[in-house]
């Protein structure tokens, strides 16, 4: 029962975070929020009993993807300045 409550709470937070990420004007904050969604998703996978998928989601989804988005944002901002 407690795991179901946890999953529902985490799911609601994920949806709210997704909506916030869409509406944020600050792109850096939006990227971080999108990374948080993956982190919460990995907790849900762990509760559902699939640690393998949780590890992949935590490392790729919230770690590597966020970093690559940050590098891309950095590049885009640099090109904006040059123009």
């Amino acid at each position: 029962m407690i795991s179901v409550i946890m999953i529902v709470v985490l799911g609601v937070i994920m949806i709210v975070a997704g909506i916030i990420a869409l509406h944020l004007k600050n792109l850096l904050a939006a990227i971080i929020t999108a990374g948080t969604i993956s982190l919460l998703a990995s907790v849900i996978y762990l509760i559902l009993g699939s640690p393998d998928v949780a590890m992949t989601e935590a490392s790729i989804g919230s770690g590597l993807t966020t970093i690559i988005f940050l590098y891309a944002l950095n590049k885009v901002q640099k090109e904006d300045k040059n123009d």
């Binding site: 699939s50 949780a54 790729i60 970093i67 690559i68 590049k75």
Partner: protein, 223 residues
């Protein structure tokens, strides 16, 4: 107004598509026949403690080969499309430099642990490779002017990919099956050296994924 109505219609349409799936969904108490075959087979035939790993590496080995190929093509594409360019960067803080030089070895060790113990504990080549890539990322963050030797990365990457396929072909030659784990003795259940070729295959995948992702991050970083 029209835009909002269209969005509403799209949401209702999606709900109608997914409602039949939701309405008669029930948690299954028993494994399906295929799943129970996999669970029994991985413990009894392959001596693998982690069932997920045995499915990924052996039973669905061809899919994993495809996944690795997709990652390889992504790396090649990023390296091809994103050229190098120069720019000034401010150096990292003292705190980050000291911490990352201390943590780098530990994180690499943890990554190696994850992919060598893929058949015993959760995790495996992909996760371990990503952890290793994050260790290199930390190194790149702490030393902004650091240059990576791409030749070494490419050698590691292509050799591990080649050996992965060679292991698969050895299984074909011995008429056991493509990417079969039983080409070498299976060993004792639950020991580090067990489960036949699964740890070897996953170590190659781990090295391959680690070097590929390091390559991607370094290319994205630019010079």
């Amino acid at each position: 107004m029209i835009k909002k109505t269209l969005v509403l219609i799209a949401i209702v349409g999606l709900l109608m598509v997914f409602w039949p799936l939701m309405s008669n969904f029930e948690f299954s108490q028993n494994l399906s026949e295929l799943a129970s075959n996999y669970v029994r087979g991985s413990v009894n035939e392959l001596n693998t403690q982690n069932v997920v790993t045995s499915v990924i590496v052996t039973y669905r080995g061809l899919d994993t080969l495809g996944e690795v190929t997709v990652l390889f093509l992504a790396t090649v594409g990023i390296g091809f499309l994103l050229g190098k360019r120069k720019g000034k960067k401010r150096p990292a803080s003292e705190l980050l430099q000291t911490t990352s030089s201390f943590l780098f070895a530990l994180i690499v060790l943890f990554g190696v642990y994850i992919f060598t113990h893929g058949h015993l504990t959760p995790g495996g080549g992909f996760q371990g490779g990503v952890v290793i890539a994050t260790a290199f990322l930390l190194l790149m963050l702490s030393d902004v002017n650091m240059k990576f030797n791409h030749t070494i990365l490419q050698i590691v990457e292509s050799f591990s990919g080649a050996f992965y396929i060679v292991i698969g072909i050895v299984g074909l030659v011995l008429t056991i099956g493509f990417l079969s784990a039983e080409i070498i003795p299976l060993g004792e259940f639950g020991k580090l050296i067990s489960a036949g070729a699964i740890p070897i295959i996953y170590s190659f995948i781990g090295l391959k994924v680690g070097s590929e992702l390091t390559n991607i991050i370094d290319t994205m970083r630019g010079e």
